[in-house]
């Protein structure tokens, strides 16, 4: 491993630099939402039916610009407040792929072909996968899926004095709500950061060791699992993954979309970060479901007659 240490260090540092500001943003939003919005009332207003609440989560994912790193601290905190599991999970799994930033980068990356079809394919696949995952995990129940500390519901305004890490002084006396928001932000950020750093380390090590798989592409059905593997190894942010997917040439359209569908839900660093939210058995189920559903969806795409999809298939032999 030592000969590869410079590359591992480089990838680890770059993943850390890339993800941390967005983790902080997610924690900040969760702190502000928890402290300043009547979140319990909003949650009480939400539909209890799993499919309906999942659809609400999907709508939130379509509107709010977020990525994997922003979504997790926010969903984690709101789930503690009682957010329906299917709503939170639908947002968590679909949001990174269907938010305005991800869609605009998909538009740009496919601008030489047919960006509208590309966006439709990305949306349909991401929504289907998120629904499958959210409803399946919802069915298993909160105690089966979530870590015990996430299950422990907390009142709207936690007091800083309850924190085992920091206690309020000046800020608490003057601006109690702001102090509460800052405390939640810091504690959530640090908690998720620990998992993120560990995940980035694992991702950097495995990616360096398995670098030969990063550039492997295959034709036909083999292309689909190879591109799925490349997405899992490369741990790309969903805001730029469309460009990375397009950087693989001579791969089928189905394989390209397999890359785009799996990346925002499952990669090496995400698997580790999920440990801050899910029980291990839920992560295993989520991994299996994602692999199977993405593969089947890509397979379905690959059997659609080429005439229908030629418009967005980039042939390098043009």
């Amino acid at each position: 491993m030592l000969p590869h240490l410079p590359e591992i260090t480089l990838i680890f540092t770059s993943l850390f630099i890339q993800g941390l500001p967005f983790l902080f943003l997610g924690a900040l939003i969760s702190g502000l939402v928890s402290s300043f919005l009547p979140i319990e009332k909003l949650i009480a207003w939400m539909p209890r039916h799993p499919l309906k609440s999942a659809c609400l989560g999907l709508c939130a994912g379509l509107v709010f610009p977020s990525c994997e790193c922003i979504g997790l601290p926010l969903v984690r905190r709101l789930t503690r407040k009682g957010l329906p599991l299917s709503a939170g999970l639908a947002y968590l799994f679909a949001g990174p792929a269907i938010n305005p930033i991800a869609l605009s980068s998909t538009w740009l990356a496919f601008s030489f072909e047919d960006p509208i079809t590309a966006i439709c394919l990305r949306l349909i696949g991401a929504i289907l996968i998120a629904l499958i995952l959210a409803l399946s995990l919802h069915r298993m129940g909160r105690t089966w899926v979530l870590r015990p500390e996430v299950l422990a519901t907390t009142p709207t305004n936690e007091h800083l004095t309850q924190s085992p890490v920091i206690a309020a002084s000046w800020l608490q006396a003057r601006f109690p709500r702001l102090a509460n928001a800052v405390q939640i932000t810091l504690v959530d950020f640090l908690n998720v950061s620990l998992f993120y750093i560990f995940g980035a380390l694992i991702a950097a090590t495995v990616q360096t060791m398995g670098s030969t798989f990063l550039n492997q592409t295959g034709t036909g059905l083999l292309g689909i699992p190879l591109m799925m593997l490349a997405a899992i190894l490369s741990s790309v942010c969903s805001s730029a993954d469309a460009f990375v997917a397009k950087s693989y040439v001579n791969v089928s359209l189905a394989a390209t979309f397999a890359f785009l569908w799996i990346g925002p839900v499952l990669d090496l660093k995400l698997i580790v970060i999920y440990h801050s939210f899910f029980q291990r058995r839920a992560i295993v189920l989520l991994t299996i479901l994602t692999l199977v559903s993405v593969f089947l969806l890509a397979l379905a795409l690959s059997v659609i007659p080429a005439d229908y999809l030629n418009a967005i298939y980039w042939s390098t032999q043009r």
């Binding site: 590869h4 240490l5 410079p6 590359e7 480089l10 990838i11 680890f12 540092t13 770059s14 993943l15 850390f16 630099i17 890339q18 941390l20 500001p21 967005f22 902080f24 740009l108 990356a109 601008s111 030489f112 072909e113 800083l160 924190s163 085992p164 890490v165 920091i166 206690a167 309020a168 002084s169 000046w170 800020l171 810091l186 640090l190 950061s193 620990l194 750093i197 380390l201 950097a204 990616q207 360096t208 670098s211 990063l214 550039n215 490369s234 741990s235 790309v236 942010c237 805001s239 730029a240 993954d241 469309a242 460009f243 990375v244 397009k246 950087s247 040439v249 001579n250 390098t316 043009r318």
Partner: protein, 257 residues
């Protein structure tokens, strides 16, 4: 396991937050101010990194003023748990200290090299503007310059034009000047490479151009300005360059990586 020195460990845990934030903030700020950030992150994200560095440093400085350590009656962390947490949180700082001056090693460049051309969609990240505009500029440049007068081309522009039949015909046999990093290949050929970072170095991909000719260079990864004649084989869109001359530039061009 609870520690026999709860106050000491509680204080340590309390100070871990400003310590980590300060260390992380200094690393990010130094990377940004030194320009080294461009080697590992796409410029789109640089403002986020800079802003986040300032926020971290602000929190680190103001933390002891805003917050007190928790009550001494709070449950004390175990030394092992606190040590592990501190090690993990400070790992990025130690990783940064371990990075060499030149972040991108030639090993890294080679690992990410693909012989195939990138599709124009992927290049959109680096070649802003309307596709038609770039096409028009490249066409105009080739038509208004004699073939024996070198024109400057970015390696990415070359990849873009290589995928259009009309532009290929215009540039075939044209002398061009191209920047890139030298990668040794064999005694008669070398590669000119550029690392493209879409998001961060984890998704970096190396694009290369085969250059036929010899240099007396020894160090893989040296930046090079190459003048050569562009050629395309009849049945392929992969460009190759026949070397005329090369120089080591004093200043690197400002790539939009």
């Amino acid at each position: 396991m609870t520690s026999p020195h709860p106050n000491y460990l509680l204080r340590l845990r309390y100070f871990l937050i400003p310590l980590c934030f300060g260390a992380w903030g200094c690393v990010l700020l130094r990377l940004y101010l030194s320009g080294q950030l461009a080697q590992i992150q796409n410029p789109t994200y640089h403002p986020f990194t800079f802003g986040f560095a300032l926020i971290l440093i602000f929190i680190a400085i103001s933390f002891p003023l805003l917050f007190d350590p928790p009550e001494t009656t709070s449950a004390s962390p175990s030394l092992a748990a606190l040590g592990g947490r501190a090690l993990l949180l400070l790992l990025p700082f130690f990783a940064y200290l371990h990075l060499p001056d030149d972040f991108i090693s030639t090993n890294f460049l080679r690992q990410r090299t693909s012989s195939a051309l990138l599709s124009p969609g992927a290049l959109k990240r680096f070649l802003p503007g309307k596709p038609g505009e770039l096409y028009r500029l490249l066409k105009e440049q080739a038509e208004t310059t004699p073939k024996d007068q070198p024109v400057s081309l970015d390696l990415l522009e070359l990849i873009y034009l290589s995928q259009d039949k009309q532009l290929r015909e215009l540039y075939d046999g044209h002398q061009v000047v191209i920047f890139g990093q030298w990668l040794s290949e064999n005694p008669t050929q070398f590669k000119l490479a550029r690392l493209l970072i879409f998001c961060c170095a984890a998704d970096g991909r190396t694009v290369t151009l085969n250059v036929h000719g010899q240099t007396d260079l020894k160090d893989d990864g040296s930046w090079l300005e190459v003048i050569g004649t562009l050629r395309y084989d009849a049945d392929t869109n992969i460009p190759k360059l026949e070397l005329i001359n090369y120089t080591k530039p004093e200043h690197l061009p400002d790539f939009n990586m």
